[in-house]
Structure formats: C-alpha cells, structure tokens
C-alpha cells in the first residue's frame, strides 16, 4: 500500500497537478493523497480523454433534415385496438375523438455508408427513414396525426444499439400508449413478420377536457419537440446510433410563416440543430463505451449528424431550434467572433424546451443540458462577409456533470461556423423583442389545492435510486388523478452529480430553484429540470385529458439506461 501511495505521489508530481486541481478532480481525500485498491484510478479521466482521429473543422456544410411527408393511406388501416403485427399493447384512448387528418409511415432502418466527416470512413448507423437526424415533422394544432413506426432494424445486429424500439415524442401531450413508454418497445420481426407501432398524436392544446376550454388552453401551445428512441436500458445507445429527429408544432400564432402570426423567421430561415458529441475509434468508426456508468462524452461535436459543419447564411434574421441530443454533455453556447474575442453577439431567446416564453429575452449565452431545447433568433444582418461560430464554453470532463466555470471565448468547442456569404434577401420577420402569450401560471386556488410530492434522486450501491427505490416498471410511484394538478419537488441528493430530470406528458412550470425565484427563462414552461449537485427545484404540473403510465427519469441517457427512472400513472377521475 505504501508503495502504491508513493507511486501515486510521484505520478501526481509528474502530472504537475496542484492541490487545487486535485480537489477539483475529486482526487484528494481529507487524509491526503488518495489511495485506491491498486493505484490511482480515474476512469473519469479516460472518458474525457477519448481522442478520436483528427478531422478538419468546417469543411462540410451543415445539412438540414428534410420535412417528413404524409402518405395517403396505411395498410392495414389504423385501429383503436392493437392489431396483428403491431407492437402496441393498449388501445388508443383518443383515436375516435381525434381521427388523424394526416398519416405518416416511418421506418427505423440501418443506414450504410453514412459519413460523419470526409476525413472518417463511411460507416453504419441507424436512422428514421434512413436519415440522420431523422426527418423533421411539421404538425399543426388541431390537426391530429398518426405515425406508423415500422421497425426495419436488422435483427441480428452486432455492436452497440438494440434493434428494438419505443419512440418517444419528447414533450408532446400524448396518450400513454403513443408516448413511447420505455417498456413499450417492440422488435423488428416476430416469426418472420415485420412489426410496427401506431402512434396517435392528437395535436390538441392541453386542457381540452375542461368544459370551459373545449379547444384547450392556448397558453399550452408547444413549438419545438424532438422524437427519439426510448427503449429501456438502451436509449443512449440507440439515440447515439442515430435514432433522433425534430418535430415542430405550428399554431395560429407560431405559424411557420414570417408574414403571419408572431412573424418569426420561417421557411428556410427556421433551422433545427441537434448537437451530439461522439467518439470514434482508431479505425474512425463510431464508438460507444458499453461499460460506462457515469456518462459518455465525445470529443467530436456533430451538428445534424456532421462533425463541425459550416452553414452559409444570408445577412438577415434566423430562427435556430437548438437541441442537446446527448448522451451526457451539457452545453453553454455563445456566438464567437474569432477575430474579435471580446465581441458580444447576442441571442434573442424566444423559447425554452420548445415552449415560447411570455416575452423574449436578449442573452449572450444559453445553457442546455441533455434534451433541453432553446429557440433563439440570431440577426446576421450587420455581419455580411464575415464568419461567426457557435461555441460551447462549458467545461465538462465526465458524466458527473459540468466541472464549473466557463471557458474563455475561443477556448471552447467550436460547433458550427456561420458564414454570412449568401446575398441580401428580404426579411419579413419582425425584429425583437417579442411578446408571445402569458404562461399558464397556476392560480392561488390551484396552488392551494395541489398535492405536493417529493422526488429524490440519488445513488446507492453503485446504482441509481429515485425516492430510494430501484426502477421497477411494475411499481407505480405516484398516481395523480386526471384533471388535477400537483407540485413536485425534485431533489438531487446524489452528491457531486448533475441530473437533467425529464417528466413526460405535460410540460411544467418551475416555481422555485433552491428556494429562489427561477430566472425569467427558466420560469417559462419546461419539460427538463436541470438539477446540479444538491439542487432542489419545485415544479407545478397539470395532469389533463389522458390517462396511463408515464416515466420521470434522468436524461443523461447513460444514467437513464442504468435505471435512473420511475413510473407514475395518471388515473381516471
């Protein structure tokens, strides 16, 4: 043991680590230098150190996923009850009431010869309709749709990822049987027959069951959602392999047309960006550490499936819908001018987790944890002929969470280069600031009637626990009644860990963060609560319109796949 300690000390001296570095890295115990079983160990360091083969930055354009197109008919036609060949186990709750006006058929497939970067070999990934990221859905409130998800993934697939899927439409107001509950996964074939799963999305504003608002509460309109695989224990692997895409909902206000409604940049000027960090092995093939527990961090930063792309833009306003696609990294995003590092380029922050804020907020950075979204307006009109970068300046070395502080401008991860080189064009969008619609803030009566529940997130015996329990999908940890509202206290008891906690079904409103009023941005409607070490966040949720099972889980998808999850059910009134 003494010899190990001495070796460790020598190693620390070689590494030139100061005492402060040691404390930061968690390698100094109260009694001095740490001794492990057989020498110093820091798997954390190994994860952070993953060094993929080199790739030249900003030599390929950033693709924009195609818009998903409907089909005329599905064969066999959708039915309320699960039908032969369907992976669904429960009848549709609302198919008859909200018959789909548009039908879609989407295939989860293996994609061969996919290129993350010209400097890496072509490789095999998975994608919806063969696209990585998947096609973007454009839906509208009041226009119900049904998506038939067909699992065409190869049954004997070798390597990370499992060819069994349950597709979650993140933040949608969806009946349980169409929500993508983690245990609702289905395989690609059974007995040689192809399997599918019909997911019915009513596209109704929450609150339509209330007689005073039969069309729902207009303050509940959602804008930027994403869909991704949610197969229990394999979500990180399957999403990392490519099973994710955007889903935008438009309304009479957020119309997608910059000449109507809120007049936000639309069409070609409404650009989704999914951020996902990856690791590649010595052959340049995508790599996922199957024996990692804390979180997988990549050293290659993809946007819409490409490593460090550029995007040519016109000198005008754009709407960017930015998503942290995980699996484990947090981002703090800035716009950086490498020729003038002290220049501050603002974002106009219009929505949080895809939900428009009551008023837009001008910010110089946005913070995203896994699966959080932000919609921002960036005005390139005075930047013609120049290039600016979207830069992540949040340091993070392990799946534990961000390590604290912010990196200097130009010292972080450059994600996308915006080249303002396209010609001047018209801009029908309105300049900021924007006033949208008020949040559905709970009334005093609602707050006093709301039951409070505590959810604690911790680890025990190298496993995650929620309310001190291991995940068992047969155990219903909370059972709010349909039509009621509750206050949920989300408490991180897990020491040094950060956890982005996601609650399915209706988005919530944050009432407090560590006893204080949340920021204007966080007070907007959200579906993910970032819990830093020891954080306590109180949220208000309404449970309306549908019943059934839903999960609450950590969206560091590696934590999620190690069962940091609980089931709760909405029970009929």
């Amino acid at each position: 043991m003494a010899r190990t300690t001495r070796a460790n000390r020598e190693e620390i001296a070689r590494a030139g680590l100061s005492r402060r570095d040691m404390v930061k890295l968690g390698l100094l115990s109260s009694s001095g230098y740490l001794v492990t079983r057989l020498g110093l160990s820091s798997r954390t360091a190994e994860v952070a150190l993953a060094a993929s083969p080199p790739t030249r930055p900003f030599i390929q354009p950033m693709p924009i996923p195609p818009i998903k197109q409907p089909v005329q008919a599905l064969t066999p036609p959708p039915q309320v009850n699960p039908q032969p060949g369907e992976g669904r186990t429960r009848p549709h709750q609302a198919l008859t009431r909200f018959p789909p006006q548009k039908l879609y058929e989407t295939h989860a497939v293996e994609v061969q010869n996919f290129s993350f970067h010209p400097d890496l070999p072509l490789q095999t990934v998975w994608g919806y309709d063969g696209q990585v990221p998947g096609p973007t859905y454009h839906a509208r409130y009041g226009e119900p749709i049904l998506v038939r998800m067909v699992n065409d993934l190869p049954q004997n697939h070798k390597g990370f990822g499992i060819p069994q899927i349950s597709t979650h439409l993140h933040n949608a107001h969806t009946p349980s049987e169409s929500d993508g509950f983690p245990l609702d996964f289905f395989p690609s074939t059974v007995g040689g027959s192809q399997l599918f799963y019909d997911q019915h999305y009513p596209m109704q504003l929450a609150g339509f069951s209330n007689q005073s608002s039969p069309n729902g509460d207009p303050r509940e309109a959602l804008s930027t959602l994403w869909y991704h695989d949610h197969r229990v224990d394999f979500t990180a692997q399957n999403v990392y392999k490519g099973l994710a895409g955007f889903f935008a909902i438009f309304s009479d206000h957020d119309t997608g047309d910059e000449s109507t409604g809120f007049r936000l940049p639309g069409g070609d000027f409404d650009v989704p960006m999914i951020l996902a960090d990856k690791v590649f092995d010595s052959n340049g093939q995508i790599f996922f550490d199957l024996f990692n527990f804390d979180g997988v961090l990549g050293d290659k930063f993809t946007v819409n499936g490409k490593i460090q792309p550029f995007l040519q833009v016109h000198p005008r306003r754009y709407r960017f819908r930015i998503l942290d696609g995980g699996p484990s990294r947090f981002y703090q995003l800035f716009l950086t001018d490498l020729n003038n590092l002290s220049r501050v380029i603002p974002f106009e922050h219009i929505s949080n987790d895809g939900n428009l804020l009551p008023q837009s907020v001008t910010v110089n950075n946005v913070l995203l944890s896994v699966s959080e979204r932000c919609d921002v307006i960036v005005d390139f009109s005075n930047m013609a002929g120049t290039s600016i970068y979207l830069e992540n300046r949040l340091p993070q070395f392990s799946g534990t969470g961000p390590s604290g502080g912010v990196l200097r401008a130009g010292g972080g991860n450059l994600l996308v280069r915006f080249d303002v080189v396209l010609p001047t064009v018209g801009d029908g969008s309105l300049p900021p600031p924007y006033t949208f619609f008020p949040a559905p803030t709970p009334t005093a009566a609602e707050l006093s009637a709301a039951r409070t529940r505590l959810w604690t997130f911790d680890s025990s015996g190298d496993q995650w626990v929620v309310n001190d329990r291991l995940f068992d999908p047969n155990v219903v940890m909370a059972n709010p009644t349909e039509g009621t509202s509750e206050i949920w206290v989300l408490q991180n008891d897990g020491g040094e860990w950060s956890h982005p906690i996601h609650i399915h079904f209706e988005e919530f409103q944050m009432l407090s963060r560590n006893g204080r009023t949340p920021t204007t941005i966080e007070r907007g409607r959200k579906d993910v609560a970032r819990l830093g070490p020891d954080d306590q966040v109180k949220v208000f949720l309404r449970f309306r319109d549908f019943v059934g099972r839903y999960p609450i889980h950590c969206h560091n998808t590696v934590h999620e796949d190690h069962a940091m999850m609980a089931r709760w059910d909405i029970v009929p009134a």
Binding site: N8, G26, L38, E46, F291, G411, G461, H562, A563
Partner: protein, 209 residues
C-alpha cells in the same frame, strides 16, 4: 486553464501507475512504457477487450474468463463477496436466485450466470461453494475467484466502478448492479440487481435471447 491544458494534465494523470487497470491492451495490465492509449481501440468489445484471465470456480475448476465463460455466450454477471457485513451482497444474490428460477432451465443452456468475488483473497473456492449452497444457487451459475490484480482488471473492464475515486477505493464497497450481455452480438447493458426479479427476467429475455 484552458480545456486543452486540462486535458493534457489529465492525460498525464491517467497514465498508468502501479498496474494500470484501464488500458485497453490485450495482454493484461499495461506498464509504464505502455501508457493508456487515448484512441479507443478498433474492433469493438470482443476478445481484445475482455481479459482472458485465469479464474477458479466455486467447484474448484480452473477457467479462462473469455475463452471458457464469455465467448459466444449470453451472460449475467455481478460482483459480490461472501463475508459481506451489511448483508447487501446476500440480498442481491438471493434476488438473482429468484431471477434464475424465473429463467428456468435456460440458465446453463442459453444463459450463464457468474458472480465474481470482490475479495478474491478471502473468497476461496471452498468459501464460494459453501456460499452458493447456502443461497440455494442452481446449476449454470458459477462463483469465481482469482488473482486480485486479474479480478481488479475484470472489475474495470466490466464497468463495476464508482467514478468517485474515494468511493471506488473503498475495499468494502460493493455493487448491486448486474451486467447482462450477449458477447456474440456485442450487446451489453446493466440493471439494478435488487429490483423485481420478474422485471430482470423480462430484461434478460428481451435483450439477450
């Protein structure tokens, strides 16, 4: 400190000391002259990843981890020690006994169960044999011990670690997590060993069989 600077410090720091355990080399523990590669190895999670260390079963048999226990098989793996003071290892073992019953005669045929001792010096084959008998462990499930350095290498490669080095260094720490894997398909996941054994059986059946 910039990201690059920190990363390079951590790189030095991660260089193996006494018996570096997280190198990806094929020939057991790396040496100071064979530092941890930064680039993940090509070839996935097969023979070159899993240590082919010599182990002894609770029945006294000598086996190679990769060749004899893992290659081409579907497996359930946990880590424990017999003289667990707070009884947690026993609770997990008895839960896995319930899982074994759920899986029936597929254990030993389609699926193999392994419990690797976290205290290999203490857990002799005889101790493990007595423990398995006490716990009513059925056929198709082997308790394993071996050289401490080999066991430590296995522990790391199989990811039974706590990223908090203080907790990871605690020799009395134990894990309730259970690995499931299909080596042939390079398909691996982890689940809480203490949860409902019927749910565990669902996970095993859907992911591995």
């Amino acid at each position: 400190m910039t990201l690059t600077r920190r990363a390079s410090l951590m790189s030095l720091f991660a260089a193996p000391a006494a018996g570096a355990l997280f190198a990806w080399s094929t020939n057991g523990p790396a040496s100071a002259t064979n530092p941890t590669p930064k680039v993940p190895p090509a070839g996935g999670f097969g023979a070159q990843y899993f240590p082919n260390v010599l182990l002894r079963t609770h029945e006294g048999e000598e086996v190679r981890f990769y060749d004899d226990l893992l290659q081409g098989k579907s497996v359930i793996i946990n880590m424990m020690y017999t003289l667990c003071q707070d009884g947690r290892c026993g609770v997990i073992t008895s839960n896995l006994v319930a899982l074994q019953r759920e899986l029936g005669d597929r254990v030993g045929r389609d699926i193999f169960m392994y419990s690797i001792s976290l205290k290999p010096l203490e857990d002799t084959p005889r101790m493990l044999l007595e423990y398995a008998a006490r716990q009513h462990v059925g056929p198709g499930w082997q308790f394993l011990t071996g050289d401490p350095a080999d066991i430590e290498l296995l522990r790391r490669r199989l990811g039974f670690i706590n990223v908090n080095p203080v907790k990871d260094a605690d020799i009395n720490s134990h894990t309730g997590a259970v690995r499931f894997g299909n080596e042939r398909l390079e398909r691996w996941c982890m689940a809480p060993g203490g949860t409902n054994p019927r749910y565990l059986a669902t996970l095993v059946e859907s992911a591995l069989l």
